[in-house]
Subunit: 221 residues, 2 copies
DNA sequence: TGATTCTGTGACCACTTTGTGACCAACTCA
DNA sequence: TGAGTTGGTCACAAAGTGGTCACAGAATCA
């Protein structure tokens, strides 16, 4: 997936390039509005990150120009933070507007959010150790092992635990998120039991902290 | 267009209701997480505005529950503003995250931005492997095979699946899009059955992932 | 206007999923 | 030290799911 970063601040450009490459994106960039449009035509990026204060052609003009012919997601990154300016940017066709300074982690999360909406990216897979969870097919995949298929409730539980890393998730939080209509501890312990049986040959397991909750952790070697 | 506002602060609720009605939205609301899910099922809103700190069931549980089955846009409105919390909200399936306090004008601009991306029309022609869908004539064409003519509902389903690539589309999402007025799983499984019969000689087929949904995939050779 | 197609519905079936109850060991607390 | 709680285990049965088939009314077509 290719990102066009349009930014004249070279320090920020470097930080963003590094972060996005580490996330697996291919990165191209431009330092002024005119070059941005040229790059857009030649590189055909999946998403554009667009500063507004640019030499040669301002960012809003770039945004308007792209949006006249293309549906490519655009996120504006700007120091201008008044409501009027945010609204103008969004109405000019941007999909999101982040005011500087922002954290790279939040930027990549917002990029994923927009890409998810336009159907350009599969949901991110979650990993713990060598185990990888497939959110589309509700599978757990691991090297040298058959994938494990989960039922809806099993998947719901393991996803929650995996999102939380190896930290303990409180019992009542788990119950609320799995059974918003109402569940109880007996149902959860039964579900934990069934899930443990399915993953017993994996590198990960469900640890319980009595009186607190559960965590997904890696088996030690 | 119907908005479900999930907010337990009645002052903010009133302000938002007034603002959104003035913009032409139909507004329904809930003051706690459980009621929110009930309202979601009965009202089938176009978009959800979701506080996180809620009685009965927290907003992240509501968000996750909705997103497991539906692709209705969700914007989180919360006082929690750390990067971690924003990222968690977006990863739990929200389309945007606004921290309180925010201006109603920016909220409506962000709603428009997300809604702009919903229900976009299909590209001109869709292909998967050697099979090509003709949107004007509702045909599937393949080299060395007679074209297959689809009924309106059959075409609607295969187009949805083809837009999604070979990825799994959740059952309820498919139902929402094919029968906006309300469909059910029995209707969908019947439609899938009929469509499978029509494409059984093709290079593509409908794969089901029990408990999740369906995908259009290429037959392997 | 009759023929044909489309669509919603019901039924059957095999299988899976889920909620529940029961039992037990370990732990906590008064 | 006894009562109560909790987490783990096991089995049962109800509910749900996905696939298949056919029926019949509505819609469309020629």
């Amino acid at each position: 997936m290719k990102v066009l970063i349009v930014e004249d601040d070279l320090v920020l450009m470097d930080v963003l390039s590094f972060t996005l490459r580490r996330e697996g994106y291919e990165v191209v960039h431009a330092q002024d509005g005119k070059t941005a449009l040229e790059q857009f035509d030649t590189e055909n990026p999946t998403i554009v990150l667009l500063d507004l204060n640019l030499p040669q052609l301002d960012g809003l003009s770039v945004c308007r120009h792209i949006r006249q012919k293309h549906d490519t997601p655009i996120i504006i990154l700007s120091v201008r933070d008044s409501d009027e300016e945010v609204i103008e940017g969004l109405r000019m066709g941007a999909d999101d507007y982040m005011t500087k300074p922002f954290s790279p982690a939040q930027l990549t999360a917002r990029m994923e959010t927009v890409l998810r909406r336009v159907g350009q990216s599969a949901p991110r897979k979650l990993s713990l150790g060598t185990a990888t969870l497939d959110p589309e097919r509700h599978l757990l995949e691991q090297v040298d092992a058959d994938p494990i298929q989960f039922s809806p409730l099993e998947y719901s539980l393991i996803e929650l635990l995996m999102i939380n890393g190896e930290r303990v998730l409180p019992t009542q939080t788990i119950i609320d998120r799995i059974w918003p209509g109402g569940g109880d501890k007996a149902m959860l312990k039964q579900l934990v039991y069934r899930l443990r049986q399915k993953i017993e040959a994996c590198d990960i397991y469900i640890d319980s902290v009595p009186g607190v909750g559960y965590a997904l952790v890696q088996r030690k070697r």
